[in-house]
Subunit: 506 residues, 2 copies
């Protein structure tokens, strides 16, 4: 009944016989690749890029019975804990069920602390329903709970709930802040300093906003640490062609897994103060610290410990989320940001900006509340909660160690310790012949490597080129999330593949 | 311990004794009102603007015991059904509870159809958890259910799930589409045609993107209908200074409550085809049609009924949401958009763009699924579901009629029939003296009127100036959502206030 191509076929036949169908098809359209927003075209996001698209295709082929040298695709490309089998925290889900269907409050199957948390959240919702819009900045009592959590975490450094904004995951907050900060044209265009390797949300958001991405390189030889001299080099370079205003840090690091020392954070804050830079601290992995001797230091706490000269002046925003740590609740898109020393007029603008999108999803706000207001000693859910939390974090620590150890047994692979976060980012030596073949195909050499690994083993990784890396070095990012047995199998397969690949191209 | 103003006070005393504290405070900052993104500064969003901020303040004052001529603030400013006491659909919330805490699947308290829906949704989630990321375009089976819903709604016009994108409410989809469409500078800058009065998300998104807002006026005399001649006028005018590429329609209308006739939709589609415009149809109120003789016609269905000359060429995107209709589940931020005749290369760009933000919140996706795949005859929850749905929609129809009738009894207020959606948008006559006083205060006259009404009665409305209106006319938007008794009281208060206001300024 609905012939979708009639007119367009007609035109191919009559007016432009040599053009491809697609070209004519596009020519008539309002929105084409040539007329669309060029900033969007410049966006790249490797974590869900071509490798992952091919992985989805292969999964479909497997279901359709296509023969492969493997029986399943293992997606180690993204920090998606539940998809890898991590179980949700029982208490969180009980409260969310109670909030979703408050009839359950009459039931005896739920512990009292879960019920009282649910009642408290519902009371703060319009019409006592998760279905009402919240204030655009987030539910009041949730922001209060976040503030108290931050104060506990930072040994009493005060936190004003007015400085807390609930967000849809950390990504939403990061993009919102960049939106406020980015402006200008030509040499006065805002430059934003990001670590290389970086999490590609940053480069994608900067491309979309038309900002200048200013790269500073982490020091792979020193366990991906941040060197002050490199920050200085990068900034001086950038000042030649743009107006660098923002310095972004991810700690613990993604994709690089390092945990910053207190000294390093102090240095960064002093640098920002001296160079008049706005600090953005992505601290979503704050509970994911595994290596002995490493500890999470929040930028906020260190800032305040440096004294009023810094704590009254340096502008800082810190991001957190429900998606990582021991929760891994990515699907709920919960998160918050805390702004420090933000100009009051700009805060009013920020509130206006977030109000256009009405509010972050309320179930995600509720979940964020539970994370910052988890069961306390003496409450009925405390023991189970602590057991679940500890088990998940210990397993992650074990898998971080295991990943580093096994990868370092492979000749041609060098892996820094996975001190924190959820990823290893090993350096891989690729034979010249492979590099040449990749270049002939127009592919980054580590993309070529990862694509081949996917086709031959079913393992889905993200090439280092998707995060940025020093010229001439190659890496991949692999999550440490699969269950221990599967992770061992996966690492064995990676090892075998790497050896075969090296032989094949030597 | 932490003195927040020391350095800045120091500077006030020493270096710039005549500047205000705030100015010095700002001068030292990286991010100030002067250095921030000017596009964000241009954003306005009246639905949560100054009136609403004052309403929140007044609520606080009431709680603190400040005496007022009223005891509560009635927020009739926003289409927030649950906050106004509308009850959620039992079936939806049962399934959401089951998905949140799957242990409940073992329980006998839930009907079998709720359990089977929950199992189906969980099976489609990574690790069978709402906590896993979904595909960026949305969960496959939800998009399939959306496609089947659209086909049923549109009498069999086919819908390809690949054209369906799940979103965080409709706002997210609208902003995403505008992001793709807007580009260019100067006279080649993209122009986007929007109705006046409009829903201020559109003007806000256009300001943020730096696009040209092209106004076409709805005809208040003909029940806010769309006139072809006005579209032509507006387009011709716009072509003198920008590149108009997009035509946005809200049907049923927000804030104006009209329901477009089939003929009018045909005219608009023919106009778009002739003038080479991309159509954006905001159809979030598709179930909210109350007036006799009125019916919802989707742009998609009419497009296909116009024959292949149109259905193969006109580019259309339609938006829907879980927030309105009989559901009113605003807090879950569920929604979808369907794109028709979109260039395949642009679709790839769209998928890339949405992947940067990972995915819409999964509970909202689950809820969207339930809306498009609600209980069917013969299923255990069917009777209750239909009863709840019908009750809500009949009550809304009754309140739409009631609002129109009572407002039209007030001399100086003229209200078009509320044919659909959730708002009345009456025309108010304001005395010259009031207009003069407002202008002296630098306020829009209807802002002055609404602010006064809030202070004197506790009723929170949005002034027409926040949506746009013909010069010299004044309006307010009021939701029809309060419970019938409260709505009657509210309308009586509005009547009384208007009469008093008119007397006072005559």
């Amino acid at each position: 009944m609905y012939v979708l191509c009639r007119r367009h076929t007609f035109q191919v036949e009559n007016s432009a016989p040599k053009m491809t169908e697609n070209a004519v098809f596009s020519q008539n359209k309002v929105l084409t690749i040539d007329t669309m927003n060029p900033n969007v075209k410049n966006v790249e996001y490797a974590v869900r890029g071509p490798i992952v698209q091919r992985a989805v295709q292969i999964e479909k082929e497997l279901r359709e019975g296509v023969k492969k040298p493997f029986t399943e695709v293992i997606k180690a490309n993204i920090g998606d804990a539940h998809a890898m089998g991590q179980q949700p925290i029982t208490f969180f889900r009980q409260v969310l069920a109670l909030c979703s269907y408050p009839e359950l409050l009459k039931d005896n199957m739920f512990p009292e602390d879960a019920k009282s948390r649910a009642r408290r959240i519902l009371q703060a919702c319009g019409g006592s329903s998760l279905g009402a819009y919240s204030a655009s900045q987030g539910i009041d009592c949730v922001r209060q709970d976040v503030a108290r959590y931050i104060e506990r975490r930072d040994g009493g450094v005060p936190c004003d709930p007015d400085n807390v904004y609930l967000t849809s995951g950390a990504s939403d907050g990061i993009v919102t802040m960049l939106k406020l900060l980015v402006c200008g044209e030509g040499a006065s265009k805002t430059g934003v300093m990001i670590s290389i390797p970086q999490y590609p949300l940053y480069s994608a958001a900067l491309a979309e906003l038309g900002a200048v991405q200013v790269n500073y390189y982490l020091n792979e030889e020193k366990c991906w640490s941040m060197d002050l001299s490199e920050l200085e080099r990068s900034l001086a370079e950038a000042r030649k062609h743009c107006n660098p205003k923002v310095l972004c840090i991810i700690n613990p690091g993604n994709p690089t897994g390092q945990v910053q020392s207190r000294q390093c954070i102090e240095d960064v804050i002093r640098f920002a103060a001296k160079e008049h830079l706005f600090l953005m601290a992505d601290e979503v992995y704050q509970d994911n610290v595994y290596a002995e001797g490493c500890q999470f230091h929040s930028f906020k706490k260190v800032l305040f410990e440096l004294g009023p000269q810094y704590s009254n002046t340096v502008e800082l925003v810190s991001f957190h989320s429900t998606s990582k740590c021991y929760m891994g609740e990515c699907g709920f898109r919960g998160g918050y940001m805390e702004v420090i020393n933000m100009d009051p007029e700009v805060k009013a603008q920020l509130i206006k900006l977030v109000s256009v999108r009405l509010c972050p999803a309320v179930p995600g706000q509720a979940l964020m509340d539970l994370v910052v207001n988890s069961p306390q000693p003496g409450e009925p859910s405390y023991t189970t909660f602590m057991k679940e939390r500890t088990t998940t974090l210990s397993l992650l620590a074990e898998k971080a160690k295991l990943t580093e150890e096994i990868l370092n047994t492979v000749p041609g692979i060098t892996c820094n310790p996975v001190q924190g976060a959820m990823y290893s980012f090993p350096n891989i030596s690729l034979p010249q012949k492979a590099i040449k073949e990749a270049k002939a195909l127009g592919q980054a050499p580590d993309m070529f490597y990862c694509m081949k690994m996917l086709e031959e083993t079913g393992i889905c990784l993200v090439p280092g080129s998707g995060f940025g890396q020093k010229d001439g070095t190659y890496h991949f990012r692999m999550t440490i999330l699969p269950p221990t047995d599967k992770l061992k199998l996966l690492l064995a397969k990676v090892k075998e593949f790497h050896q075969k690949f090296t032989r094949q191209y030597s």
